[in-house]
């Protein structure tokens, strides 16, 4: 081995230094135990499923040859479910992912993808552990011939008929490359809400936080350029919808600051998880599951949940700090809240003031009320960026125009010049003329008469 030398003295030495630090930080952020567990058990799970499916080609379903692998499958899935909750097993281009973590199949390709694709299936969500009988049923159905012409719905129906509705079959996936155009913002939003709900559900069941799926979706939100506040999912819980909207509003402020990509991603994930504390439990005993933390303690409860993720990572610190800071005033006696806390505070208050179940105020009125809190409740610079971004009449504001037409605002501020002239959809025409649903650009001569209170 080549002997080590003392510290650096030049550019290459500085490079050594920075690489060493980066590797050190990366290692510090690694939860080796969890990574090894997911890798090892994930690989075992995939191999067992593959092997058991292979057996269906040569053995009858009641053959004893299934006993051993099926019992191992029961155990392996149980172990992983206890730790990770719902397991999303996805195969893309023969690469296997378990909850977004790629599973190494050392030395061989996975045949699972081919087995699943016969049924038009690209992945399976295991929402709960399976017993041996359930595994035998699943293996028999997947190993059997596909139905035509729609094999996946047919397979799903058969699972439901067998009492296995908790096994969710997912469609075929493809890789999405960077800078790909044509992403559906509402689709991204719907996925974000679904992943958020799933993450919070996992946390509420004392499983370890896994921010990676949320991070990927935040990256997708940022990549799609979507600024819609519509969660795209009418069935989503108000809580998840609120978290998604706060995320979008926080990202608007972050963009106004000019935060770099990495910080924007961290901010988005922090905003997604800002209210995660409500998913926790306080006062749990052996006989009672406890109760969700009240408003006063949901901030620290959120930090506790998020800090259960092992390993040091800047994003984790930011997230936890955002959770504990996001209701603090800008002039808090304990010192100025963190940047993400200040940003989310603005987004949080705004959405709470306008959302049903909250203040239910018109967005424009809510903005006016918040304005007075700049410098005391809100960081004045960040608040001004927020005002500049959402516009005089933020999306969702109902306006009555000078001619009596009522519109609901659909856009954020587009330019400084049209800051008070967003686009909108007509919700009520005048003189008995129904123009509902017609798009209006208020910059084209429309005069706002008043804000219609919600």
């Amino acid at each position: 081995m080549i002997e080590p030398v003392p510290g650096p003295v030049d550019a290459i030495g500085a490079a050594q230094e920075s690489l060493g630090q980066a590797l050190g930080l990366a290692r510090a952020g690694e939860d080796r135990g969890l990574a090894a567990m997911v890798r090892d058990n994930g690989e075992r799970l995939v191999r067992l499923i593959q092997g058991t499916l292979r057996l269906t080609r040569t053995h009858a379903q009641d053959n004893d040859a299934f006993a051993q692998p099926i019992s191992e499958l029961v155990l392996t899935l149980q172990t992983m479910s206890d730790l990770l909750g719902t397991l999303n097993l996805v195969v893309v281009e023969d690469l296997v992912y378990l909850n977004d973590i790629r599973i190494r199949m050392d030395g061989e390709s996975s045949t699972l993808g081919a087995d699943l694709r016969r049924h038009g299936v690209g992945g399976v969500s295991f929402n709960q552990p399976l017993d041996a009988a359930a595994w035998r049923t699943l293996v028999a159905l997947v190993g059997g011939p596909p139905a035509t012409p729609k094999p996946r719905p047919a397979l799903q129906q058969r699972l439901i008929a067998e009492g296995l509705a908790h096994i969710e079959l997912l469609g075929v996936f493809r890789f999405q490359t960077a800078n790909e155009t044509g992403r559906d913002p509402l689709g991204v939003a719907a996925r974000a809400v679904a992943v958020l709900e799933s993450s919070c559900d996992n946390l509420s069941h004392d499983r370890l936080p896994n921010p990676l799926p949320v991070r990927r979706l935040v990256a997708e939100i940022l990549g799609s350029g979507s600024t819609t506040l519509d969660s795209g999912d009418s069935a989503a819980s108000p809580y998840a919808t609120h978290s998604y909207r706060v995320t979008q509003l926080a990202l608007l402020i972050g963009a106004g600051v000019g935060l770099p990509d990495a910080d924007m991603q961290d901010l988005g994930v922090a905003a997604m998880f800002h209210d995660v504390g409500y998913s926790g439990h306080e006062g749990a005993t052996r006989t009672h599951p406890g109760y969700p933390p009240p408003f006063e303690r949901h901030s620290t409860a959120g930090a506790r949940l998020l800090l259960r993720q092992h390993g040091f990572h800047e994003a984790k610190i930011r997230r936890a700090l955002c959770a504990v800071d996001h209701h603090l005033d800008f002039d808090d006696v304990g010192g100025t809240p963190s940047l993400f806390g200040r940003i989310v505070r603005i987004a949080e208050d705004f959405d709470n003031l306008v959302r049903p179940g909250g203040g239910a105020l018109s967005p424009a009125i809510a903005l006016g009320q918040m304005q007075v809190g700049a410098c005391t409740r809100y960081d004045p610079t960040l608040f001004q960026l927020f005002v500049n971004a959402v516009g005089r009449y933020p999306p969702g504001t109902k306006l009555e125009l000078a001619d009596g037409t009522q519109v609901v605002v659909t856009s954020f501020a587009r330019t400084p010049e049209t800051w008070a002239q967003p686009t909108g959809l007509v919700i009520r025409g005048v003189h008995g003329v129904s123009r509902a649903g017609v798009k209006l650009d208020l910059a084209r001569g429309a005069v706002v008469k008043r804000v219609v209170p919600d």
Binding site: T86, V90, Q176, A190, C200, A320, M370
Partner: protein, 569 residues
């Protein structure tokens, strides 16, 4: 000294070499660049970041990239085992563990384009990301796609898989099935996020362009605020621990505190650690003690030393002040660490400084460590001991008198030379005298004489009397002669006379075997202890010895005359 090309060869053989490909000059250059990238990324598997090998690989990577980019942008298509540039395969490696192409492909990278004017910082960032993957770090927080995305490259374009999405042809995707859906209704309290903040009167909302200087401050906070964020988080959590209404317990806080501690330790900034200690000082005393001990355990000290050693020659004062605040036997830990980190001179310097600080008032562990240390380190520590705890140095030195290393013996001798007289010191000098050779032995004899170690008179005399046929070198015999004369002049005169007295008939004409050394020593020492018989005895041997000895005798006679004149009235 091994040359750079030799080091590169050694390292390449340890890492394994990717396949060298031919083709057009541009392709060959691209091949060299990609191989250099692959090798540098892999090198962190077996070398510490500061190793000279890493430096060589980085240099090779930099220069190979420069040469490849002279042909224009490096636009690579990533295939499972190949990288292709303009239709030419420029990288081919079928070993999955070693293949850069395979790792990139497997992690979702499909194209990689490096523009000709790419700055070194971006090339380095690319290497960093690949190195993290090669070294097997599997982060929960980031994968290669998010790492590449966050890198914010301006001259490197990565066409990467950002994730998987439902195929357009398919009619349902992840989470879209209505068959089963996770329900959160039962876990979220009905009145979440209520009450709302107290309503304020309505203010006038206006557009106002925010000056960039205001934004620059916020961006700076985002870029450089991590240590402050860490401290704030800990402060908030400690406050929650103190809040009787909040169920947050110390056990919830400890893991992140330890992670932050390690982050600060790795960062080489003791003031952040000190600030963290300030915050944690609010905890109950028992918790503090348990927690604070972990700030300076072996693992922590290792991090401290490795991070603080960069570019410093001594332990920073703020670091010693920090350790002073922490409980624990730092000195023993530092000593163990010193022995472990022996190869790195930078680490050694800092450790030496820290040990010097803590051993000044409690030198026992230092003395103990000196006994167990290899020669080079023992020497270093002995010198440190002399500097900070001179009273403890002789005891430490006595433990090393049997050291085989002449340089260490020299240090030991130097310490014993100034030590207070004691039987142990005398015994140590005796052992040094017995077991040393050459210059060191000459120095030992001189020290014995200078310290007036009369107890060693017989040992010195016996050295010449029992030197056997080979005798001892003339300079040593001479030094012994001087020493004997200084230690006990009368006794020496008698010994010298006995040595020079003729022994039998032949002894009158030639020295008997082994007698030459005694003669030499006696001739050297006699002028210091003049006796009436001295001149006669010296003259008695004058005709029976070789020329150098004759000169030695004549010189002694001259000195005798001078001595006689000096005492004459």
């Amino acid at each position: 000294m091994t040359t750079e090309p030799e080091l590169l060869d050694i390292a390449a053989s340890e890492l394994g070499e990717d396949q060298r490909l031919g083709g057009t000059p541009a392709a060959a250059a691209a091949n060299a660049a990609v191989r250099a990238l692959s090798r540098a990324a892999r090198s962190f598997l077996i070398y510490e970041p500061h190793n000279e090998a890493i430096r060589i690989f980085l240099t090779a990577y930099q220069s190979a990239m420069t040469e490849a980019l002279a042909f224009g942008p490096l636009d690579l298509d990533v295939r499972p085992f190949e990288l292709v540039r303009a239709g030419e395969v420029v990288y081919l490696e079928r070993d999955r563990d070693r293949s850069l192409a395979f790792r990139l492909f497997r992690d979702g990278v499909r194209t990689l384009s490096v523009q000709a004017e790419v700055p070194w910082e971006e090339l380095l960032k690319l290497l960093e990301i690949l190195s993290i993957r090669y070294t097997g770090v599997r982060q929960q927080e980031d994968d290669i796609v998010t790492l590449l995305w966050k890198a914010g490259f301006s001259k490197i374009t990565v066409g990467a898989v950002e994730g998987f999405v439902p195929d357009e042809a398919d009619d349902a995707g992840l989470g879209s099935s209505e068959v089963y859906r996770t329900s959160l209704g039962h876990t979220i309290p009905a009145g979440w996020d209520l009450p709302l903040p107290a309503p304020l009167r309505t203010g006038k909302v206006m557009y106002f362009a925010v000056p960039d200087e205001h934004l620059a401050g916020i961006r700076h906070e985002a870029a450089h605020g991590l240590p402050s964020m860490c401290l704030r988080l800990v402060r908030r959590l400690v406050r929650a621990v103190h809040d009787p209404l909040d169920p947050t317990a110390l056990v919830d806080v400890l893991p992140v505190v330890e992670e932050i501690r390690d982050f600060f330790l790795s960062g080489g900034q003791p003031h952040w650690l000190a600030a963290l200690l300030d915050i944690l000082s609010e905890l109950p005393a028992a918790d503090q003690d348990r927690l604070f001990r972990s700030f300076a355990d072996s693992a922590a000290l290792t991090r401290i030393v490795r991070s603080f050693s960069r570019g410093v020659d001594d332990a920073p004062a703020e670091l010693t002040a920090l350790l002073e605040r922490l409980p624990g036997d730092h000195l023993s830990s530092l000593m163990r660490l010193y022995l472990m980190e022996a190869q790195n001179t930078g680490h050694r310097r800092v450790l030496r400084g820290l040990i010097g600080h803590f051993a000044a008032t409690r030198p026992a562990p230092l003395v103990q460590a000196i006994q167990a240390a290899p020669s080079e380190l023992a020497r270093d520590l002995l010198q440190l001991c002399v500097a900070i705890a001179p009273d403890a140095a002789p005891a430490a030195a006595l433990g090393r008198v049997g050291d085989a290393d002449p340089a260490t013996r020299a240090v030991v001798l130097k310490i014993l030379e100034g030590a207070t007289s004691s039987p142990e010191v005398t015994q140590g000098l005796a052992q040094l005298f017995e077991e040393s050779s050459g210059d060191i032995r000459l120095q030992v004899i001189a020290v014995i004489a200078a310290r007036d170690e009369r107890a060693l008179f017989d040992a010195l005399a016996e050295r010449l009397e029992r030197s056997g046929l080979a005798g001892v070198p003339d300079p040593e015999a001479e030094q012994i002669g001087f020493a004997l004369a200084q230690l006990a002049p009368a006794q020496a005169a008698a010994v010298f006379a006995r040595w020079l007295a003729p022994r039998g008939f032949l002894g009158r004409f030639i020295p008997m075997p082994g007698q030459r050394s005694q003669w030499w020593g006696a001739v050297a020492g006699f002028p210091l202890v003049p006796s009436p018989e001295a001149e006669g005895l010296i003259r008695g041997v004058l005709d029976n010895v070789d020329a150098p000895f004759r000169r030695h005798c004549l010189h002694a006679l001259v000195r005798l005359r001078h001595a006689a004149k000096a005492v004459a009235p």
